[in-house]
Symmetry: C2
Amino acid sequence: MEPDFSALDDYLDAVDADGYLVDAASDDSTQRYLSGFDAPDPFTTLYTPEGTYLLVSGLEYGRAKKEARADEVRRGSDFDMRGKMQEYGRYEASARARAEFLDEYEVESVVTPRRFPLGSADDLRALDVDVTVEERDVVTEIRAVKEDEEVEHVREAQKANEQSMHAAEDLIAAANVEDGVLHYEGEPLTSERVKEEIEVTLLREGCALDETIVACGANAADPHDRGSGPLEADEPIIIDIFPKNKSTKYHADMTRTFCKGEPSETVREWYDLTHEALDAALDAVEPGATGEDVHDAVCDIYQEAGLPTLRDDPTTETGFIHSTGHGVGLDVHELPHVSTNGEELEAGHIITIEPGLYDPDVGGVRIEDIVVVTDDGYENLTDYEIELVVE
Amino acid sequence: MEPDFSALDDYLDAVDADGYLVDAASDDSTQRYLSGFDAPDPFTTLYTPEGTYLLVSGLEYGRAKKEARADEVRRGSDFDMRGKMQEYGRYEASARARAEFLDEYEVESVVTPRRFPLGSADDLRALDVDVTVEERDVVTEIRAVKEDEEVEHVREAQKANEQSMHAAEDLIAAANVEDGVLHYEGEPLTSERVKEEIEVTLLREGCALDETIVACGANAADPHDRGSGPLEADEPIIIDIFPKNKSTKYHADMTRTFCKGEPSETVREWYDLTHEALDAALDAVEPGATGEDVHDAVCDIYQEAGLPTLRDDPTTETGFIHSTGHGVGLDVHELPHVSTNGEELEAGHIITIEPGLYDPDVGGVRIEDIVVVTDDGYENLTDYEIELVVE
């Protein structure tokens, strides 16, 4: 992939900076995107309109030369890191090596991401490098608009995601109910057991994930609760899975809510309303609409039904208490926002639409699809039925 | 766990700062350690000698109140984030909310970790908060000395690690050789297949890992190459596994090198020498010795055998081309360094000892144990035999 960095060139020109500097490991997606390199420890990437240059440790040097999308790869020993460490200590040595590295490419002023390390910045400033935080998230904005290859990466991760959701639903379907609790193979079926099934399925599909949400009852009423313990019959079970393909590093994201047994009347109403909110939000997705327009479509549905939303009551702890969605790519949460103040949508944005309702007395309900914005609307990358009751 | 932060109090007093400020998600281990809270998106932790205070999003508020080790948890709406966002935009609104949050605890000056986000720092500075990077990694130093509970967490992760190493070794043992390539169940046995076995084993033991190294032949000659493709007979296969327990978040780390078939004379020599280097390094581990002393023990063995080391030739690309080890805990790489300039060891430090030799013409050999420094030496947390040839 050869991303189009012309917007970054324009930005550097507009703010009169020589380069864009990143100091991070590749779990920082801007680092990965700019460098095309995957390393577990921090390294330095310098982007200039003339080329992309990496400064890495000796340990990563060989691999970086082979794998990075860089015009040149340098290492500490090119700048006498050992001598500098003895003279100045570890941190000042790094700063001095980095300043010499910049100097070799005639870079005196750099713009950085907001999360550039303060220590590195202050040290460079002390060495008379002009370091300024970008006023907009320029590279993050570039990353938000996906190329076809990136859409395929998300699609592939989402297919694996759906397999793992099926594996979870199948477990719930195969469970029987004893004393109001789901049982499987003679044991109570727990959130943890369902998560393991999801994770093993994803692993065999080349995906990894740090977290999965399988939350039932009161757990489900907190949108970020990961869930634990036995799953209950007649209660909504929220399953939210957001894996990363280990090879491409792109994410997928989806949520379904299941109920084994007989949901309460309120849960049924909430589910149908949330399905309606999902459809209304999807209808609003097109280039030129904003993330806020899409969010408003959801809030309107809930508000008309008399349910609280954060839009209408910023302190509510029940009802619709999160954003409608977010961009997905190298990060599971990235631009654009699909919320109050959400940006204008562009073709190539990949976003989630995930309305939901929560109340500790009722539980929680959420339905989430992932879609790519197209020239004339959107394509839904999710292929999974929307059905509350699992038989 | 109630960590002892008196060293942090002393530091704040010495530099005349009111508090220690972290702005990070809990994948930042200093954030997790200070806050006792696990959240996927960035939040703010303020430590003062009087108490620990969190500022989180509305989405995390309920969980933070329940789970965080904090004297108070605040959220954006306590500081009118919505109004501020409309007036100032997202970033300045966050900075203003954070400044008011600091003001409520009478904090006018903060020290931060080196990797504190530059954007947050510069914005706070513009609001007259005094923000300075810590001169030493104070919290990281506190984290490096483990309490008994933390040692048990690492021990538990290491037990799972050993199970996954056994699973990998068993696969290699069960393989047969066809045309110089390992085969299992009629298919070439690949790095990827062995990694899957390791990962599924770890997952069932409650551990996660982003990366595993199963590297054979030329792959193994690059210490950070993860390995790919069919495994070859008569070649050294380096397996380096560094999982994180998903519940405690503590890591383990170990490496073994296996050979199916007949290793070359050089590989045998290298293996024995590396085993000798491991023993020499372990002998050097005790409180009061430095990480550099331990590293020197390894370098001395290799140097006496006429093999290049980075200590003696900073530009070498073959021989012993990495550090002897590193601290392990919430981070897989943390303090102390076990390398040139490595710090003085203290009881409670958990470190790896991982000598190795590399050459593209030979392959690679590495043996890694994980140990905890005790009052009178060390306890080896690794229980896995050291044996090159797999029958």
